[in-house]
């Protein structure tokens, strides 16, 4: 029986439920918090994250918006500058490009341009990633782009604990925070302590300790990487798996401590390889732990193609367990 497997004091829930609980908790704790976005209210959220919240909090605080990504993201910026704590939901990362001007030219720059007089304590959540055959306008992983920008925080919760706990800390942050929720995680179930609450948003986590190689990843790729680590264990390669959690700032200390010990590293990133977050992490390793490395740094990224519709092509376009296993073995000169 599943119930018997749950530790007393824990509940099993989906990642989607965890995000919803995080929103509900924030709304209850702080009346400055409100959620706005396309179909967050009556529809219940494109990915059903906000289902039921309208009935609990009403249409002022669970605010359905027209299809005006730039307009309502900018409204979130203005409301944040005036002291509210908005959560803006953008359906997918591809749609966030319609709000990119507001995110970049306003949310990010206001504190600096105003000489620290105004800040934008805004949280923007969006779905990211491929795997649902949604093709080339709904499936990309552009969080690495956002991580390029100084002035924002970029978060990638991969576990139900983080889905539940990151939002509140992001809302406490005086600067804009973007939360990327991988679409393949929404249905994933996990155990959550009954008293689960806020978690730190600036540290990477070692999800599986190991001695032989560091596998560095985040978001939807975490679970594939953990599976790859299990496969590698069967081949006598003891992999350490690091979940970045925060893509900006990057927790260099955790990464470098791990790599300095294992002396080998693979970065698994659903973004494209060229000019990517994986490139940034690799270069930081070169700068900081080059002399500790026993082998070239490897990467498993998405193929340099817009995400295709056909299932077999989509699967081939993004990191998968066999690619990760192969890349790790290649570091050891094994096929």
């Amino acid at each position: 029986m599943p119930q018997e497997m749950i530790h007393p004091g824990t509940t099993e829930l989906t990642y989607r439920d965890a995000v919803r609980e995080a929103i509900r908790d924030a709304m209850r704790r702080d009346d400055r918090v409100f959620l706005m976005g396309e179909d967050v209210g009556r529809y219940g959220g494109c990915y059903a994250v906000s289902k039921g919240l309208l009935a609990e909090f009403g249409p002022e605080r669970i605010r359905d918006t027209p299809l005006s990504e730039s307009g309502f993201t900018g409204a979130g910026i203005g409301a944040a500058m005036a002291g509210m704590r908005p959560i803006v939901e953008l359906m997918t990362v591809n749609f966030s490009l319609l709000a990119l001007d507001q995110i970049f030219n306003s949310a990010v720059t206001v504190r600096h341009m105003s000489g620290n007089q105004f800040g934008v304590p805004l949280v923007i959540r969006m779905a990211t990633g491929a795997g649902r055959q949604l093709a080339a306008q709904h499936s990309h992983s552009l969080e690495g782009w956002y991580a390029h920008i100084p002035g924002i925080k970029v978060l990638a919760p991969a576990t139900v604990e983080d889905a539940r706990g990151m939002l509140w800390m992001a809302l406490q942050d005086p600067d804009p925070a973007l939360i990327f929720e991988n679409v393949m995680l929404y249905n994933m179930t996990g155990k959550l302590a009954a008293d689960a609450g806020p978690v730190n948003i600036d540290k990477a986590a070692v999800r599986r300790p190991g001695r032989d190689i560091s596998l560095i990843t985040y978001g939807g790729s975490l679970w594939k990487t953990l599976e790859a680590a299990t496969v590698l264990a069967g081949e006598n390669i003891d992999a350490e798996v690091i979940d970045l959690r925060s893509l900006r700032p990057l927790d260099d200390a955790t990464i470098m401590t791990s790599v300095a010990r294992t002396r080998r590293a693979i970065i698994v990133d659903e973004g494209w390889r060229s000019g990517s977050l994986s490139a940034e992490i690799g270069m930081r390793m070169v700068e900081q732990v080059f002399w500790e490395l026993d082998a070239p740094i490897g990467r498993v990224c998405s193929a340099e193609v817009p995400i295709p519709y056909a299932r077999h092509l989509e699967n081939a376009a993004i990191p998968q367990v066999p690619n990760i296993v192969a890349a790790a073995k290649a570091v050891f000169g094994r096929a």
């Binding site: 027209p66 307009g71 900018g74 030219n105 341009m113 105003s114 105004f118 005086p174």
Partner: protein, 334 residues
Amino acid sequence: MTPPTDKPRLSREHMLGLLKQMIRIRRFEAKCAELYTQEKIRGFMHLYDGEEAVAVGVIPVLEKRDRIVATYREHGHALVRGVPMTTVLAEMYGKQDGCSRGRGGSMHLFDRATNFYGGNAIVGGGLPTAVGLALADRMRGDDSITACFFGEGAVAEGEFHESLNLAALWGLPVLFVCENNLYAMGTALAISESETNIQRKAACYQIASEAVDGMDVIAVEAAARRAVQAVRETRKPYFLECRTYRLRAHSMFDAQLYRDKAEVEVWRHKEPIVRYQGWLEANHLIHPEDLARMESEVAAEIAEAVAFGEAGTWEPVEQLTRFTYAEAAAQADR
């Protein structure tokens, strides 16, 4: 000139004050242009010459608690709102004594003390911010209103339409003030809009509107009073189109190839300061000594601002990366 008959409480002192504010902006910016040629001020700088009646007519009608969002042509708005001329000029010098600590420059004057939410240099980019400021006020039940200035060039941006729709849909207290100076940089209104009557755009969003001669400070002020009263009473947006003209170049790099000198001359005869001053004189509301006093007070204020800018200090380069994220002290008082 519009006779100020619908405003019996307009005192002579008030009417002289309007003239002084316009002269203050004009003389200040003339000094800025001079300082620009001396390379004391760099970057892009956009002068308000010819459009002063808009800021002077609208902004004093607002209350201290109200909020203002402006554009990159915002020196006049900042001065009229009460941002000290000293810190405005120091900002343009790039000194840390500037109103944005020298991080913003001419296009990004900000001032928390006067609820001045900045010069925004993305055309149309300030409109969603204004919607959000007003949304916060609405959700909290505050009675502040937000005045959002933008040029007619912004009307071609999607954010204009998104913002008008959101403000009307959600019932937000925003006063949209379109400063229609007929040119988006060098692109004439007639070659950028299928419907050149800007005011009519507001009707599509069920927003009450009015168009006014933006070269007539009395008319602008009267319209602004009606507009502000409407926003405050209805808690709904209002659209005020001020038809005006930019007499100088778009920025300091503009050779003005896109318009005839003759056209500029025609508008020069309608320019707000000479026109208003002439009207005051014809009605014996101003004496030569009033004007002399005004000019000397403005000159003294400008001299003080220049001295302040010159004496200002450069921020140490060691502080380069500050103000990218909040610092501990700033977090504490959030």
